[in-house]
């Protein structure tokens, strides 16, 4: 009974935060479900059903998301993360021919998934790191198996896994210091390719194994003459074809060495003199003819050569050559039965050739407007029933990091995969053409006469727009009555009166900056490559700030001293500082300058990077994190053109401790009420100190988490909480706003019911800070108008300490990247936003649910319920599905959540970024200042009109009656 009443109470409370309604989906929120930029070796077309011609497009992107895409419209069929974290590329994805599953591997794990639905078939974990995954197409049984190559410490392990069960069929282990590279099969044998020797010069070692037992059959080495220095230098290992090959080029890219697995020795082919890059494309099917294509890129264009392998003696002969084309092209292979087709997808033409002859089977000319710049592609060539006509569709990754489907030379769809892996985001207001507020401010600062003249002039200028405004009235009236606001929205970027249209600027780890319009379903406005990154290197953004004005400028600072300024409206690059080798930026401070905030880059020891004069140096205390174990506050003191550091405080943690997270306030953190009205109408005054941060310190020796509120001016620890049995390997996340902070972690709690039982689980702890433990008391500072953290009051040595009220709840799943919603004036309740990595959703917990004043062990009094909305405390916090603001959307890999206020008080705009981009609007106290969709303007107007009509009809009657009465003959 009690449980029921509790849940009823919770239900009642949660109605404060209304769920997302069905008709709001897609209107208030948007979601870019992404895979990451597809990797060439893990992207392919595959038929998920044996007896169905239709195929899906499978890929594993460079952020570790794999899945299937509908090739006809680019919609996601299913999607999974290959690892619990975002990956830096790598991973393996393969699909067996004519089977309904795909196999994927990353790190320790190998798993198989249903190709059609994405349901898990089996999952296996092994020691070591997976190096390659291959499908064994030809087995002694009718099924197909999976070959996995693992590297354990100095041991190369090849396992054959049962294709439908995931059990080990046999295992081959070899103890040596070789670097396992690839596994490949042909009809007869399995070949394990590894690098043997020293890093200065590796030789290729090939071990052939028996397919049925995994016993070693033979092994041999292929000399490379010092051309191979690492796994990356071996460009290609054709797998599963009739004649798998190994290819590597020499360092000067003058010749290509090719070794056909199963034969001895290598064969050399000269490369064109202007070659800057070589790639080899070959079919992956066992029944395909053993032909392959060598793609040679030059600075201006590219050419290709097609070679044939003689299966009997392993001899390779050059068949024909595809002429040099001055365009950016990508080659891809497609096979149909024994036929092999090579598709050349270029900026301005798409051609298909058969591997047999250089004759062009079909050619299309894509429109210039498509702006294709293919980097690599996969294609599917279909011979039409007539026999002579061909159709091709190619999924190409362009140099703009889009994934584009080109069907017969026409762009079918495009997916913005480059948007994945966002590492930093900032909200930008769309600037108004004429900002009235600024003009008024300007007028206020001049003398009255000139201000008056200025105003009159402004009004005369405004008159020019008057006729246009008059003309627009009928159409606006019509729109507002008939459309009810749902009519065709104005396109283009513009401010709206609610402030929902804003730009979110995202920086991806690949060094590309995107601008998204949140008012227009997250449409990508622009994308600019600013810091091109090497494939295995991620951009580390240390600071991002937007500067308002007539032109909104977003400044991004990286960890290597790179800095860039981008126009937030157009994406135009305004200035760029390339990375500097010697500079290391550990953090940036957002400093209010004369023209708005700017980023001050700081080196690890807190020295400002770049020129800083005495005039521009910030006067305030700057807090930096020095290493993992110290917080430092210092001031920059300017004396005669020289800026020196003056340290003010240090917060050094114990040797076994480390600072896990420092949560800071959002720059916009307005306080609507300085106190909290209690049920008995007394007031608990909030401890409102803008200079506070929450520091989460983890002690590895005793597995304890200490959450401390630190005054950033004085370095004083204001409150400290300790939680035992915390798992430091799991996410610890904190957020601070107003007078409260919230932390989420995995910990244990000792029950105080005398049994000493320990409860382990994910916890969320909420703490409120008040000025005094007694209500109606403003603490030792009393009614002072201001305070300084450096001036003690109550005791000669101590600053006024806040009174902390705290409660914790056990939650069923982790919540990380905690953020607090922001509204314009802070009147609306706050929601605590967090990402739930296990259920792939973003939750918005209302503050009343995690209110530390919830009464424990008793029901709240009616006054408490009315004044504070408190519900009885229950240790388990069930996450109400209605509070999940991402509702049914599958949001993966969120690394950060940013919130910003809209113009209307009720609403806060939220964007979660990471692998996916999800944006929505939340109204923590309900949308109390906007008419809902249920408001019917037509009914209202009809009512008014009919009332008016009634009055018009009745007025003469009444008048007649009154006159009649006066004229009535007195009786």
């Amino acid at each position: 009974m009690r449980g029921l009443s509790n849940s009823l109470l919770l239900l009642g409370l949660s109605s404060l935060a209304a769920a997302v309604f069905k008709d709001e989906v897609g209107d208030v929120d948007f979601h870019h479900a992404l895979f990451g930029v597809p990797q060439p070796e893990t992207t392919f077309f595959h038929r998920p059903r044996k007896d169905d011609k239709a195929s899906l497009l499978y890929t594993l992107g460079d952020v570790g998301v794999f899945g299937a895409v509908n090739p006809s419209n680019g919609a996601v069929v299913w999607r999974h993360q290959i690892s619990s974290n975002t990956t830096d590329g790598g991973g393996h994805l393969r699909a067996p021919e004519d089977e309904d599953w795909v196999a994927a591997a990353y790190g320790h794990s190998v798993h198989a998934w249903s190709a059609m639905t994405g349901r898990n078939v089996w999952h296996a974990e092994f020691a070591g790191q997976v190096k390659d995954l291959e499908i064994m197409e030809m087995t002694e049984t009718s099924r197909k198996d999976v070959l996995t190559l693992f590297q354990e410490d100095g041991v190369t392990v090849l396992r054959r896994l049962h294709g439908t069960l995931g059990t080990i069929v046999w295992e081959f282990r070899e103890h040596n210091k070789d670097i396992p590279l690839q596994v490949s099969t042909n009809i007869a044998n399995i070949y394990v390719v590894s690098l043997h020797g020293s890093p200065s010069s590796y030789n290729l070692k090939i071990t052939s194994l028996d397919t049925a037992t995994g016993a070693r059959v033979n092994d041999w080495a292929v000399g490379t003459k010092g051309d191979v220095h690492g796994p990356k230098d071996v460009m290609f290992v054709g797998a599963n074809s009739a004649a798998p090959i190994l290819a590597w080029a020499d360092s000067s890219l003058s010749k290509l060495n090719i070794h056909v697995l199963g034969s001895k020795g290598k064969q050399e082919f000269p490369l064109a003199s202007d070659t800057i890059d070589v790639a080899v494309h070959a079919p992956h099917k066992i029944q395909s003819q053993p032909h392959f294509l060598v793609h040679m890129k030059s600075a201006a264009g590219n050419r290709a050569e097609v070679h044939h392998i003689n299966l009997k003696n392993g001899q390779i002969s050059k068949a024909y050559e595809l002429a040099h084309l001055k365009a950016q092209c990508a080659f891809s292979t497609s096979s149909e039965g024994a036929n092999v087709y090579f598709t050349r997808t270029c900026e301005d033409e798409v051609t298909i050739t058969s591997s047999e002859s250089p004759a062009i089977l079909s050619r299309w000319l894509p429109k210039k407007a498509h702006d294709l710049k293919p980097v690599h592609a996969v294609s599917e060539v279909i011979r039409k029933p007539g026999g002579e006509e061909f159709a091709v569709r190619s999924a190409a990754v362009t140099s703009d990091e889009d994934w584009v489907m080109v069907r017969n030379g026409e762009k079918d769809w495009s997916r913005p995969e480059g948007l994945s892996g966002a590492v930093a985001a900032v909200w930008v207001d769309i600037p108004e053409a004429e900002d009235l507020a600024k003009v008024l401010e300007q007028e206020a600062h001049t003398n009255p006469v000139s201000a008056y003249i200025h105003r009159v002039n402004r009004h005369i200028n405004d008159l020019r727009r008057f006729p246009a405004w008059l003309q627009s009235i009928p159409s606006r009236l019509k729109d507002s009555i008939l459309g009810g606001g749902a009519g065709p929205k104005e396109t283009g970027l513009r401010r709206d009166s609610f402030g929902f249209n804003k730009i979110i600027v995202l920086v991806t780890r690949r060094g590309r900056v995107y601008g998204l319009d949140t008012g227009n379903s997250g449409k990508i406005l622009w994308a600019t490559q600013v810091f091109p990154q090497a494939t295995d290197h991620a951009l580390d953004v240390k600071g991002i700030v937007a500067q308002d004005g007539s032109q909104v400028i977003v400044t991004v600072s990286g960890s290597r001293g790179e800095a860039v300024q981008v126009d937030a409206l157009t994406g135009e690059l305004l200035s760029a500082v390339p990375p500097q080798g010697s500079v290391s930026v550990s953090s940036t401070a957002i400093v209010e300058g004369p023209v708005g905030p700017y980023l001050l880059q700081l080196s690890p020891d807190g020295k400002p990077i770049g020129p800083l004069s005495a005039a521009t140096a910030p006067k305030n205390t700057i807090v930096i994190r020095s290493g993992d174990d110290m917080l430092k506050g210092f001031k920059l003191v300017a004396d005669e053109d020289k800026v020196t550091q003056q340290e003010i405080w240090q917060l050094q943690v114990m040797p076994t401790q480390r600072i896990v997270q420092v949560a800071t306030r959002a720059p916009h953190d307005p306080v609507a009420s300085i106190g909290r009205v209690l049920g008995d109408r007394r007031v608990s005054y909030k401890y409102l100190n803008p200079n506070t941060v929450v520091v989460a310190i983890f002690d590895d020796a005793v597995s304890a988490l200490s959450v401390q509120v630190v005054d950033t001016v004085s370095g004083q620890i204001l409150t400290s909480q300790r939680f035992d049995g915390v798992d430091g390997g799991k996410d610890i996340s904190c957020a601070i706003a107003e007078n409260f902070h919230v932390c989420s972690f995995f910990g244990q709690h000792k029950l105080n019911d005398g049994t000493n039982r320990l409860v382990k689980g994910y916890q969320i702890v909420s703490t409120d800070l008040y000025e005094s433990p007694t209500p109606n008391d403003r603490g030792p500072l009393g009614d002072a108008a201001n305070f300084s953290s450096l001036e003690p009051v109550d005791t000669p040595s101590g600053p006024p300490l806040p009174w902390a009220v705290s409660q914790g709840w056990v939650i069923s799943q982790p919540i990380r990247t905690l953020t607090v919603t922001q509204t314009r004036q802070g009147i609306a309740n706050r929601q605590i936003l967090g990402f739930m990595p296990e259920s792939h959703g973003i939750v918005g917990l209302p503050r009343v649910v995690i209110d530390p004043r919830r009464p424990v062990g008793r029901d709240p009094t009616p006054a408490e319920m009315e004044a504070e909305g408190l519900a009885k405390y229950a240790a388990a916090l069930e996450i109400d599905p209605r509070t999940i603001i991402s509702h049914e959307r599958d949001v993966v890999g969120v690394e950060g959540i940013v919130a910003t206020p809209a113009i209307v008080e009720s609403t806060s705009l939220v964007v979660a970024y990471g692998i996916d981009i999800f944006g929505t609007r939340v109204a923590p106290s309900g949308v109390f200042d906007i008419l809902g969709k249920g408001f019917n303007k037509t009914t209202l107007i009809l009512t008014v009109v009919s009332l008016f009509g009634g009055v018009m009809f009745l007025a003469p009657m009444v008048r007649r009656k009154q006159i009649n009465r006066r004229w009535e003959v007195p009786t």
């Binding site: 917080l631 300085i674 200079n691 500072l781 009786t971």
Partner: protein, 184 residues
């Protein structure tokens, strides 16, 4: 012009001076020479009936007046228990009933206080002036008691700004004189 204004047509006169609205729907014309004092007609009728009795002496009249005055003075207190019960029953939430009741609870005593002299005018005479003062005093106290009940009610409803929370919005936030920039 002047000729027309001096000699107005009859219909204009009738329009400007319509016949008096009839108080009763009897439709019977008053007899000629009737002065027209409908309010007093009944009383005068009663008095005329009592007429045969002995007219009261001025002392008796004063006594009677005083008695009547006391009744008037204590009337507000007599209705208080009923009001109190109704107020208790209507709850402390803001509803149309409780709002109306609170309004009446304030209006009646205040109007009563303002009209103190009028209320006792008819009982007033030269001889009982001193006693009348006493009665008026009690009347005022009673009205104040009724007002107090009203106050108690709005206090219960939380409408009296008696607590700290009612003045919270006029209290200023304490500003910090120093500011720190976090670069974490």
């Amino acid at each position: 012009m002047a000729a027309t204004s001096t000699k107005t047509p009859e219909w204009v006169t009738q329009l400007e001076y319509p016949p008096l609205a009839k108080g009763k729907g009897s439709g019977i014309r008053d007899p000629a020479g009737f002065a027209g004092a409908p309010g007093n007609s009944k009383k005068s009728g009663k008095d005329s009936k009592i007429q045969p009795r002995q007219p009261p002496t001025p002392e008796e009249t004063d006594k009677l007046k005083l008695k009547k005055a006391w009744e008037v003075a204590l009337a507000p207190v007599k209705s208080l228990p009923m009001t109190g019960i109704m107020m208790y029953m209507s709850g402390n939430s803001l509803q149309i009933f409780s709002i109306m009741m609170v309004f009446m609870a304030f209006k009646n005593p205040l109007m009563g206080l303002m009209n103190t002299n009028q209320a006792f005018e008819k009982f007033h005479s030269e001889s009982n002036a001193a006693q009348m003062l006493q009665v008026k005093f009690v009347y005022v106290v009673c009205q104040l008691v009724a007002l107090g009940v009203g106050l108690w009610k709005i206090n219960n409803m939380g409408l009296l700004p008696t607590t700290r929370s009612d003045w919270l919005m006029w209290e200023a936030q304490r500003e910090s004189v120093d500011h720190a920039i976090t670069a974490l």
